[in-house]
Symmetry: C2
């Protein structure tokens, strides 16, 4: 079992109820990363649904997770069909809801409709070795998660407040060498710095309200390339749009979130 699998594992304790542990090594500053919490919920969902791949995963972030503490995941299967299954799940710690998930699973190895294809091409960016490693210095916060994930940023977008656009491109992979899969894409899509930083500089906290990920394809082994863009910010509420490509250039996930961009304190 990889480190990622171990540290996101849950075990069933009753019908629709799982227990796990929130590891402190996936923190952004003092809070567990959102994509890490979702990965734990995915462990419970994978054990509850007949289909292998998360096609659509919506997460609402209600309260920060608590590192180093146990957690409970409850799953309610809403509907199971031939090609799709739908479920809700809640991750709780100390009796309080931390994240709430609504998801549809399917089988990405099976086509379900027309044979036509449309896709978005990955932008050309410098290779990982010519990019800047994400570390706490850039944002001025501790990033324990960089012991678990390799995250490299486009050099022109790695310095807060120096770019003309709210966009970040870069590369990501699990540090322990585990190849990407349709579950870890949910982690990768939430582990880059906020895309408003290159334009606005480091502002205050940027909490996600809701993030929806569409997993499009099972990824090939190797680096995952990501693009994150904010083209809509109003009243402190931003819409950030993301796309991930695998090492063969296939679009493997798209995502969109609404987050708050707080004033620096």
């Amino acid at each position: 079992m990889s480190q990622y699998q171990q540290e996101t594992a849950v075990e069933p304790v009753a019908d629709g109820l799982f227990k796990g542990h929130i590891c402190g090594d996936w923190n952004i500053d003092t809070n567990p990363n959102g994509g890490y919490l979702v990965s734990v919920v995915m462990s419970a969902l994978s054990q509850s649904l007949p289909h292998p791949d998360p096609l659509s995963v919506t997460t609402h972030y209600l309260r920060p997770g608590i590192p180093g503490e146990p957690c409970e995941v409850s799953v309610e299967v809403v509907r199971t069909g031939r090609t799709l299954s739908t479920a809700r799940a809640t991750l709780r710690q100390q009796g309080k809801e931390r994240i709430e998930v609504l998801t549809a699973f399917g089988d990405l190895s099976q086509a379900v409709g027309v044979p036509h294809q449309l896709s978005m091409t990955a932008p050309e960016i410098p290779p990982p070795e010519a990019c800047v490693e994400r570390n706490g210095d850039i944002q001025g916060i501790a990033l324990p998660i960089t012991e678990r994930l390799d995250v490299f940023l486009h050099p022109d977008q790695a310095v807060p407040g120096k770019a003309q656009k709210a966009e970040i491109n870069g590369w990501i992979r699990l540090k322990d060498g585990t190849p990407p899969d349709t579950r870890s894409l949910l982690l990768f899509v939430d582990a880059f710095p906020p895309s408003v930083f290159p334009l606005l500089g480091v502002v205050g906290w940027v909490p996600t309200v809701e993030l929806t990920v569409h997993v499009r394809k099972r990824p090939a082994p190797g680096w995952i390339q990501g693009r994150f863009r904010t083209d809509d910010l109003e009243g402190g509420r931003m819409i950030e749009t993301a796309a991930l490509w695998d090492s063969e250039g296939s679009l493997v996930a798209q995502a969109r979130q609404i987050g708050l961009v707080m004033q620096s304190s």
Copy 2:
């Protein structure tokens, strides 16, 4: 009360439980429009949450609604905070789940973070009077909903299979003259033909699996302009991205859905 308000009204019958009626005049062919079903759920949510505006609304479509039949909406408030409230809701008919909603409400009249603004400009398209009215002829199906909504399509995108891109632009408003609000935007974002039609022609059924709408601003009175685009279709699963602008040119909603593009039968 406007026709839209009347035909989407629900009344509380118990704690977290509402009763309503699914009107047959909002159909796409023989099924109630998805955005109409969401509007009914929104009536129940508005009565359940302290904040006025839906900021993020994710809907999973489990089974078609049944026109002309009563419905039941159950609401569970997950969390109520100072600036945000979160809830889940289920619309049932004949005892079966039809749609499942997860949402966050807030107050769009209040800023919650940094003063910076980013926005997307509405594309220039011909005015409504130079566009083509959406009617059943274009798709070869009955569209009772066009008695409730004015929907006008860009003339270059109104003929299936004649365009170079999977994109539809156009205009929409309620036929009874009710001005748009943050609830009816959820209807408008789901009432255009699928954006794959101009490129692929009319294919089979295009059922939505999941649709997430982000409402960005309370709309000014008048027409709503919409743009719908599919740039990702693989294995019969499409990601369609939408944006709505009001009559003053403000971006008022963004949305994204995963849907299936079935073979024509």
